[in-house]
Symmetry: C2
Subunit: 168 residues, 2 copies
């Protein structure tokens, strides 16, 4: 397969994966494009390759910057902005994990704990509900803690330490 074809296929694949995980398809494609690019890309480069509008590029690039997985880069002699994605996939994984934890998991844990505490009733039914909230918090918090550890860990932790434990 041609390298360029392979790059496009990767961009497509990544875009559709993103959709099923609640991430905007174009955002994922822009990120994928920056990942496979050796050179920093301008808004126009992205517009041309992905055939999307300037506004769309701007929106999505800023979202990626906000997620901490893309950054602006200056190119000598050029006035416009260029963008690059960090090529370290482990860093990418950590960064995405960190953001999603903060944005989506932690607020839920908070609500679950509130619900558990706010119900004062003491019927059998209420107890079952509180038990359910506790179980949900418990699993969610555990996952959250594991992710915390993953975020703080060094590059080989996921691969080695985890795998070792898992083989037992």
């Amino acid at each position: 397969m041609e390298l360029e074809a392979a790059k496009l296929k990767y961009i497509q694949t990544w875009g559709s994966l993103a959709t099923s995980w609640g991430i905007n398809k174009t955002m994922a494609q822009v990120h994928a494009l920056l990942l496979v690019s050796i050179e920093p890309l301008s808004a126009e480069d992205i517009m041309d390759t992905l055939k999307i509008s300037r506004g769309n590029v701007n929106m999505n690039v800023r979202a990626l910057i906000d997620w901490g997985i893309v950054r602006k880069e200056f190119v000598v002699g050029e006035r416009k902005e260029f963008f690059v994605a960090d090529k370290d996939i482990w860093e990418l994984f950590k960064q995405v994990t960190k953001e999603r934890k903060k944005r989506e998991i932690e607020p839920v844990i908070k609500v679950l704990e509130e619900l558990q505490n706010d119900v004062k009733e003491e019927s059998e039914e209420a107890e079952q509900f509180k038990k359910l909230m506790q179980d949900l918090s418990s699993v969610t918090s555990t996952v959250n803690n594991i992710l915390d550890k993953a975020i703080k860990a060094d590059e080989h932790w996921l691969l080695s330490s985890f795998t070792k434990m898992i083989k037992k």
Copy 2:
């Protein structure tokens, strides 16, 4: 807070969490409703509580059954079908993990590996691309393996064994 209000709040919360993880909101709400219900519920019960149409209930309940997290239950003396969700949250976590792995992670690993092998070119640029695909496969496969282990593990594994390792 009233128990019923708390249940509704939980249903809402779960629904919005679902959206950000690429799961249909109504599907998550139907599941949440079944989780907080002590009795099995009929299609009509779900329609009334969530104020959604019969067709919508049917679609989403079947999706939940297909995911393996809801099942039909027969109620003596009743002709219509009733539905229940397993109350074991650990089982729920394992089941959802298993399905998402199969539906979304494994196909991507396959594509990444194909892309890595299909590019025959040997330029510097091609090598960098192959390296990227390898890194992406590697992180994705590692996560996939960890999830495999989680699925096979017993109830306390996530909470104890994992936590212990993590505290170190």
